[in-house]
């Protein structure tokens, strides 16, 4: 009887632990999706800067205002880029410096992405072990 009680307690703890892992894995997946978006954002900004280098100043462009609508505008300066530094601060940089910053940012995101994938893999392994343990009690 006492042995069965310990088993029940153990299975309860295992199920709770599995649930914790599942919650954590879900949070990781959400974070991964956000990081992937940020990587894509950096890539598209780098591409835009590459394309802008080929454009001369005073060129007419279309500026998106949301919902697929655009207004006509003229690009007065193509060599000066305003970049967000974080905490509500932006600074003007030349195109190559802006690209360098964006590439660094992208590399950082990629590193974090790799780390999270590795952690998630570890979590999945642990979850499999716990699921096996639970299956044995059934």
């Amino acid at each position: 009887m006492a042995g069965k009680k310990i088993s029940e307690e153990e299975i309860r703890e295992t199920v709770a632990l599995l649930q914790q892992y599942q919650n954590r894995a879900e949070a990781y997946r959400q974070q991964l999706a956000l990081i992937e978006l940020s990587i894509g954002d950096c890539e598209s900004a780098i591409n835009a800067l590459d394309q802008l280098e080929k454009v001369k100043a005073d060129k007419t462009a279309l500026v998106p205002i949301g919902a697929g609508a655009y207004v006509h505008a003229t690009i007065s300066q193509v060599d000066k880029i305003l970049m967000n530094l974080g905490a509500g601060v932006s600074a003007e940089k030349d195109s190559s410096a802006a690209k360098e910053t964006l590439t660094k940012r992208k590399d950082e995101f990629t590193k974090i992405h790799g780390r999270l994938i590795e952690d998630l893999r570890g979590m999945h392994n642990e979850m499999q072990k716990l699921q096996l343990k639970i299956a044995q009690y059934r």
Partner: protein, 94 residues
């Protein structure tokens, strides 16, 4: 509380990174500060002062939250011990 702490940690890291980036820029760098949807041209020194102030405030808030977390954790452990002791007594009596 955990989410609040995470958010403050994130804001603190962002302020620190912005300060680092500002330091890399020259004296006459063109800086803009976000005010709602607007970006207002500002002086590097003023923006730096604001960021240092922000960093100090966030550090203080983080410390306060950590103390609160510590207190809650302690109380949680005390209650856990009390429950364990009560259950032990009940089982002993049964």
């Amino acid at each position: 509380m955990y989410a609040q702490k995470m958010q403050i940690e994130l804001m603190l890291r962002e302020a620190e990174q912005a300060l680092e980036e500002l330091d890399k820029l020259g004296k006459d760098a063109v800086i803009y500060k976000g005010v709602g949807q607007l970006l207002i041209k500002s002086k590097k020194g003023t923006v730096k002062e604001d960021l240092v102030d922000k960093k100090e405030t966030l550090t203080l808030r983080l410390k306060t939250l950590e103390k609160q977390e510590e207190r809650i954790q302690k109380r949680f452990q005390e209650l856990q011990e009390q429950i364990k002791a009560s259950l032990g007594k009940k089982e002993g009596a049964g």
